[in-house]
Each structure stands twice: as C-alpha cells, then as structure tokens.
Symmetry: C2
Subunit: 324 residues, 2 copies
C-alpha cells in the first residue's frame, strides 16, 4: 500500500496476477471436490482460495478469487464454466436497453472479501474487468484472438455499444464499492482485451469508462491493459494509483516518462525457465529500478495454468531475497 | 514501386494483405474444386489465384498466392491444411542440427511468380514469414494466442532455437531470391507473431534474422509485424524499403518519427462497417497524409475470411477515387 502511494522504502512488494489458480497443487485438489462456479459463488470457498498463495508462496498481497465474467450475474444472465466462461444468452444490440442492473446478485463477492480480510495480514486487492473487456465476454466466446463479434458491433451500432458500456460501468462501480466497504484495500482493473482496439477506438470505447470507475472509487486503483507498456502515458492520464505493465517493454523504459507507481512486468513464460534464469531476471529488473518507491513486482500478465509451481516459488523467493 | 522509393506523386496505390483469399466468391468456387494444398503447390493454379483480386477489385499490386508455412517443405517436413496448417512432425530441439535445407522443394513458388508476372500489368509482391514466426509454426499449432511451446523452448534452450532461426533465414533467402529472379518486384516479410516477444527477446530472436534477409535481397522489402506501429522506429533501423503498419496507432503519428514509406493501416474489421463509414475512414486517412510520396494504402492486418466482398470493394474504390 505504501508502494501504491510512491512511498515505499526498502524491498519492493511482490504478488502474481491470477496467483490463486490452477498452477497451485492445493487449488487443483480443491477443484476435484468443487466445480469452478461454486468456488466463485460461495464466499467461504472464495475466501479460502484467496488465501492459498499467501500461505504457500509468501506473496505480499492477496487478490480476491473471482472472475471478471461474474459481472454477467449482475445483468441477470446465466454463467457457468467449462473450457472457459459460458454466458447465456449472448447479448445483441436489441437486448441492451432492457438489461436489468442487479448489483445485489454480486453481494457474495463482498462477503468473500470480508471473510478473507479477517484472516489476512497482507493487503487484499479486489478487481473487475474494464467495461470494454466485460462487454466482449457478454457478446462472444473468446475463441479467436480479436473479438470479431464485438468489433463488428461497435462499427455497425456504436450507440447500443456505448449504452452497454455505461451499464457495465454502473454495475462495476456498485460492485467494487461493496467490496471496498467490506475491506478491500485496493482495486485492480483488467481491461485485458482493449489492445485489439485502435487508438481512436480505445479513446472512444475503453478509456472514458475506466476513468469513470477510477473517479468513483475511494480505494487506490491499479490499471492493467495488455499493451499497457505502449499506452502507459495515456493510462496515467486517467488518474489511477498505479499502472500494471505488460512484459513488452522494460519497466525502466516506462519509468522515464511515467512517475506513477508501476507494477510488473516479468514475462509469464519466464516461470518455465530454469531457476537460475528466473533469479537473474528478477535481479536484473530490481537493479534497473534502484530505490524506486513505487515499484511493485508482478508478472506482465496472469500466471498460466500449466506453470510449474517451482517457477512461481522461485520468482517470489528471488523477489523477497534478491541478494541470495 | 515509386511509393516504395518515396517518390510517388498523385494518388496513393492500394492493395490488401491476403487479398487472394476466402472472402472472394471466385476463390471459394475454386476451393470447391481444389484442395488448398493443390492451390499452393501447383504453379498454374497459384498464378491464377494471384490474379483474381487484380481483375475483380482493381488493386494496384498483386501478391503471390502462397503461405508462410510452405517453408516446412524446404525442411523436408510434411504440410497439409484443414482448420489451418498441419506440419508434421513438429520439431524438437534435438531435430534442429539434422534439419536438411531443400530450397528446390520450393521451386514451384518461383514458377508461380513467373506465370503470374507474365499476365500482370501491376507489380507483383513475393513474401515470406519472419524467421521467428516460421519457427513458431514449425514448433506448434497456433491454437492459443501466445505460442507456449515456442516461448518455453527459447527460455529453456536458446542455442538450438537460434540454430533453427539461422536455418529458416537461409531457406528464406534462397526462396525469395528464386522468386525475385523469376520476376517478383518487391517482397513483404510477415513477422506476424513477433509481438508475443518482449523487447529484449525481439532483439535476440527476431530483428537480426529479419535484417539478414533484408540485406541479402536485391528487391525492396516491406516489413510487417503485428505491433509495427509500436516498433516502427526499430523496424526502420533494419533498413527495409517500407514498413507495413498495424492499425493500433494512426499512420500520421508514425510518420512524425519515421521517414520511410509506410503501408497501411485500416482496421480489418472496418470492412464490416456500412459503406459510408468505410468511405469516411479512407478519406480521413488520406487527408491525414497529404501528398505523402511514400504512402501505400492497405489494411493493418490480413483481410478476414468472412469479410463481405462489398466491404473490400468499397475500400478499393474509395482509395482510388477518394473525392467521389
């Protein structure tokens, strides 16, 4: 939390995006007992999963175990998971004016926050998807890499697309406020799919909605986007507490033009490398950001499900004791 | 060709990446008669397909109908197509030292160039994949968005990965030289997947190999990379004739720092928009690059198979007669 104020002294804190997930043996064991949906919807289970990586890896922050697609429940849509999220029915432009706003359907996430918070000695981060990213999940299965239904909708019917983004923004603000009231110390926004947009479309369909959320919350907001090293200055202008960087450009290069706290930015595939390579990369990044009061170590994207847990542990250990 | 020398006056030329493909009804008709492999390997058929968009859309250049994965044949691997390219067997680090170099297995592409060239009144562009991109196809099916097998290989065994890149580079130079001797007027290199690499890895595993190819060819080289608007200055330093830009940043913004000829960069999904929107965007891009002697109009990525042919025609017409 001090790093989020650019006031950290000493070692930079470290956590891992998607740190409570499939790469953890203890999580996979739980998944044999419970379907994914149950882990997300049952506050007791969600809180339990939230704590796993804190206990097992020694990360410096917890992030609520949840999914950006649970926003679907706040619109009265059905949500399940098999090879990824299954939201039914998929939205069309005609549906948008009639879409109800049901933030109470997401009350369980605030309960999970309260339960996790009571057991934690490190900060707890809540999160949500960026409105553009959430919209894309409500519109299509994410099978290709570039969201054909979403992109065509916004070219063919921009008005209904904006209305959908407004509704998602309203729901997100409601939900995150509940979670902050329940004890969340910070919020991360994941506009993970906004990189498929051109600069012009990013300014139309993503940034203003992110800004509305940032402005509406009392907790510090960490802003992530695939492509965030490219767009760092633009993202900084939205007023978040920190920017979470992808692994494309070195963090030190972004630091030259962005004074905000920066989180990141190891390549997620680095965790498949030999332990010495992981240690070297951690030391090199820390050395490139000497005494930076706003440095938070993390990956440049979520950890992959088939990551060896030894790789994740090597990263955390090297980050905690970089001189060993 | 004048635009590739920064010497064009008057209207900017226009063509479309992947312009001979599934969005064209005449092409789909051919595909009912011939399997895809046959269209690529039979010089007469490949030349015929190359000419389709020139005759039907009025584009200002032809690009050889081929595929970057046919490099597999030059290594003695088997290649077929069903839901995408099928290369067998997939390479492992142990295979690389023994991989043979058989450029004569790609002689048919030069024959297709000669046949097409004899019937064309516009320039003919040959192409190849960037060595990193070709390597990724030899290593894995492209199912996810971020090449897990390829990325892990280069972290775990960088030496064998470099040897593979050298071999692909040698094969590519051989093949493109045959095509230039057969009459190709220019070459486009597609390092379409290099955007999954960090800056550091891009400098290690992509750029030096692209440079070797550019330096070895007598024809002008257009260089494309997903992420080319981000990396435009770096790509320009490799000495290509032109850079082909993705749709992320406006072309006029890149022009401020890159004096080379620039090709691009309409969003491929724009072609799904109403015709007036397509016309407006074409006019806006042209107006943003007034009297630019190195402007070549194109998409920012290959045209999508399900693009309405009317969208492609609207783009070409608006580019040829922007004031209508």
């Amino acid at each position: 939390l001090r790093a989020l104020k650019n006031e950290n002294v000493g070692r930079a804190p470290v956590w891992i995006m998607r740190q409570a997930g499939r790469y953890l043996p203890s999580y996979r064991k739980l998944r044999q007992k419970w379907p994914l949906r149950e882990l997300f919807l049952n506050p007791e289970l969600a809180a339990h999963v939230t704590l796993l990586p804190v206990d097992e890896l020694g990360v410096d922050a917890a992030i609520l175990f949840s999914d950006i697609t649970i926003a679907a429940l706040g619109f009265g849509l059905s949500l399940d998971f098999s090879e990824g999220p299954l939201i039914e029915p998929k939205l069309t432009p005609q549906d948008i004016p009639h879409l109800p706003l049901l933030p109470e359907a997401l009350r369980h996430t605030a309960e999970a926050v309260a339960l996790a918070k009571a057991r934690l000695s490190v900060p707890l981060i809540a999160f949500a998807g960026g409105p553009f990213t959430v919209a894309s999940y409500l519109i299509e299965r994410h099978q290709g890499a570039d969201l054909p239904r979403t992109k065509r909708w916004l070219y063919q019917d921009p008005a209904s697309f904006h209305l959908l983004l407004h509704k998602i923004t309203d729901l997100t603000i409601h939900t995150l406020r509940m979670q902050i009231e329940a004890g969340a110390d910070a919020v991360q926004l994941f506009d993970s799919w906004a990189h498929v947009l051109s600069d012009q479309h990013l300014r139309l369909f993503s940034l203003p909605y992110l800004k509305r959320i940032i402005d509406a919350l009392s907790a510090p907001v960490i802003l992530f986007m695939r492509g965030s090293t490219l767009h760092a200055e633009t993202l900084a202008s939205l007023g978040p507490a920190a920017i979470s960087l992808d692994w494309q450009k070195p963090m030190a290069a972004v630091r030259k033009t962005v004074p905000l706290p920066l989180q990141g930015n190891f390549d997620p595939d680095l965790l498949f490398a030999p332990q010495e390579v992981i240690q070297e990369e951690v030391r090199a990044l820390i050395a490139s950001m000497p005494l930076d009061p706003g440095l938070i170590l993390n990956l440049g994207h979520g950890i992959k499900p088939d990551t060896p847990v030894e790789g994740a542990k090597a990263l955390i250990e090297a980050a905690r004791c970089p001189l060993l």
